[in-house]
C-alpha cells in the first residue's frame, strides 16, 4: 500500500484535526504531482493523505491591504493566467507558465512547488525575488515564514506536511514603477526542468539613473533558491551604464558558484549562462522601463 486512507476535508480545522489524529503518519497533499511519485518510489511514506484542494479558503488569488495573497490550492495555471498576477508580478506569472506542461500546470499548486523544496522551481524562484512569505498553521498556532526560511535543503521543507498546513503565500504589492521579469533556459521547450532560471525585481529611481531596489533569485544553482545578494547590493550602489549591468551579471555568476552537473552542464558553462541571461534580462527590463 502506498497510502492507506485519503481524505478531502472541507476546511483547515478539519484538515489539521486529521493530521493530528494520524500522529505524524499523515501528509498534506495538494496537486500531488511530485508527492505521488515520491510515495510510489518510497522516497516518502504516509498512511493518510489529506487533500486540501477542496478547501474554499485556500483557492483565491487576491489583493488586500497592499499585499498579494495566493491560496495554497491555487494551481500554476491559475497563477499564470491571473490578470492580477500578470499585472502586479509578471515574473511570477511567467515562471508558473513555464512549469512542466499544461496538464501539470492544471493540477500542481504553486504552494506545492515551494514545499517540494527543489532548487529548480519555476514558481518558487520568482517568489524568492518577490520576497514572499508563507503562512503556516498548525494546531498550536500560525506563523509567517520567509522563502529563505522555508527551505532546509534539497527536498527538505521547513514546513512539516505531516503536522502543518501552509495556507497562503503573500508578497508586497510592488510600486507602479517596479518591474519584474523571469528567464529560463532548458533542454527543450516543454516537459523539461530548467537548466537555469531566474527572476529579477527592479525598482528604478525615476529621478536618477539608479536602481532603488534590486532583488535577484537564481536556480538551480544551490540547494535552495538562491538570492544573489552581493549582486543586488552592487546594483543598488551605482549609476546604470552598459558596463555596470555587465559587471553585476558577472558578480552574479561568481556569487552563485554552480557546480558541474551531469544534467545541467559544467561549472564554467553554467556560470557563463548566469552572467549572459541575467545581463540580457536586466537590459531588457531597463530598456522597456
Amino acid at each position: 500500500m502506498n497510502w492507506a486512507a485519503y481524505q478531502k476535508p472541507k476546511n483547515v480545522d478539519e484538515a489539521l484535526a486529521l493530521l493530528v489524529q494520524a500522529a505524524g503518519r499523515g501528509r498534506v497533499i495538494a496537486g500531488g504531482t511530485d508527492l505521488i511519485l515520491q510515495l510510489r518510489q518510497r522516497e516518502r511514506t504516509a498512511d493518510l493523505l489529506v487533500d486540501i484542494t477542496g478547501i474554499g479558503d485556500l483557492t483565491g488569488i487576491r489583493e488586500k491591504d497592499g499585499w498579494i495573497l495566493i491560496g495554497a490550492a491555487a494551481t500554476h495555471a491559475e497563477v499564470a493566467n491571473s490578470p492580477l498576477i500578470r499585472r502586479e508580478a509578471r515574473a511570477l506569472a511567467e515562471g508558473c507558465a513555464h512549469v512542466g506542461a499544461p496538464q501539470i500546470r492544471n493540477v500542481a499548486t504553486l504552494m506545492g512547488n515551494v514545499i517540494s523544496a527543489q532548487p529548480a522551481a519555476d514558481g518558487a524562484i520568482p517568489l524568492t525575488a518577490l520576497e514572499a512569505e508563507i503562512r503556516v498553521v498548525s494546531q498550536t498556532g500560525e506563523r509567517w515564514i520567509s522563502m529563505e526560511e522555508a527551505y532546509l535543503g534539497v527536498g527538505r521543507s521547513a514546513i512539516d506536511a505531516s503536522g502543518e498546513i501552509a495556507t497562503d503565500i503573500r508578497f508586497r504589492k510592488l510600486e507602479n514603477d517596479a518591474q519584474t521579469k523571469f528567464f529560463r533556459i532548458s533542454k527543450r521547450r516543454a516537459l523539461a526542468l530548467p537548466v537555469l532560471n531566474g527572476a529579477v525585481s527592479f525598482l528604478p529611481d525615476p529621478t536618477s539613473r539608479r536602481i532603488r531596489r534590486a532583488r535577484i533569485a537564481l536556480g538551480p544553482v544551490a540547494a535552495k533558491p538562491f538570492r544573489a545578494r552581493r549582486t543586488e547590493a552592487y546594483l543598488e550602489s551605482g549609476e546604470i551604464s552598459p558596463g555596470f549591468l555587465e559587471e553585476a551579471a558577472r558578480i552574479a555568476g561568481e556569487e552563485a558558484d554552480p557546480r558541474t552537473s551531469l544534467m545541467r552542464g559544467s561549472a564554467p558553462y553554467r556560470k557563463d549562462m548566469i552572467r549572459l541571461f541575467l545581463a540580457r534580462t536586466m537590459r531588457a527590463m531597463l530598456m522597456a522601463g
Binding site: M1, N2, W3, A4, A5, Y6, K8, I29, G32, T33, I36, L37, L39, L49, D51, T53, A77, G100, A101, P102, Q103, I104, N106, V107, R189, A190, L191
Partner: protein, 170 residues
C-alpha cells in the same frame, strides 16, 4: 490491508460508483475497474502525456491523480469524445489530415486538443503547439496533428455559425 473506499464520479457523462483501495491511481481505475482502456500508460510518471484525461474541464495526467482525488469530479476519456456512430470533429480531422500513426499518443493528444478548443476556438499554430506540448509523439513530428486541430477548430466554428464561408483544404 486497509479498507476500500468508495468513489462516485461522472465518467463520459454517466455517474459511476466504484469501490477501490485508497492508494489506487485514476489511470489504473479507468483502465481496469472501468475497462476504459483507451487511456494509455506511456510512462506512469507524468512525463509523456499518454494518460491525459479531462477532469473538471481541464487536462490532467491520470497517472499522477489519486483515484480518490477524482471523487465527485467529471471526467472525460477518449471513449467519451465522440458519440456512438459519430466522430467528434477533432477525430474526423485527425483522420482526414493523416494525423494518426501508431496511435498510442492519440487519445491523450485528442483530449488536450479538445480542452484547448473548449477554451480557445481559434487557436494559432503556436497556441496549438503549447496546448499539446505535454503530449509526446514519436511518430508524427506533430505537423499533421497541429494542422488537424486547426482544421477541427474551423469545423467547430462553422457548426456554430454556418453562415460563414468555408475555407476547407482538400
Amino acid at each position: 490491508m486497509a479498507d476500500k473506499q468508495k468513489i462516485r464520479f461522472k465518467v463520459n457523462g454517466a455517474w459511476r460508483e466504484v469501490e477501490t483501495r485508497p492508494d489506487r491511481i485514476l489511470l489504473d481505475l479507468l483502465r481496469e475497474e472501468l475497462c476504459l482502456t483507451g487511456t494509455k500508460k506511456g510512462c506512469g510518471e507524468g512525463e509523456c502525456g499518454a494518460c491525459t484525461v479531462i477532469m473538471n474541464g481541464r487536462t490532467v495526467l491520470s497517472c499522477l491523480i489519486p483515484a480518490l482525488k477524482a471523487d465527485g469530479a467529471e471526467i472525460m476519456t477518449i471513449e467519451g469524445l465522440g458519440e456512438e456512430g459519430r466522430l467528434h470533429p477533432l477525430q474526423q480531422a485527425f483522420l482526414e489530415e493523416g494525423a494518426v500513426q501508431c496511435g498510442y499518443c492519440t487519445p491523450g493528444m485528442l483530449l488536450s486538443a479538445k480542452a484547448l478548443l473548449d477554451e480557445n476556438p481559434e487557436p494559432s499554430v503556436e497556441e496549438v503547439k503549447r496546448a499539446i506540448s505535454g503530449n509526446l509523439c514519436r511518430c508524427t513530428g506533430y505537423t499533421k496533428i497541429i494542422r488537424a486541430v486547426r482544421a477541427a477548430a474551423e469545423t467547430l466554428r462553422e457548426d456554430l455559425d454556418p453562415g460563414q464561408p468555408t475555407r476547407r483544404k482538400r
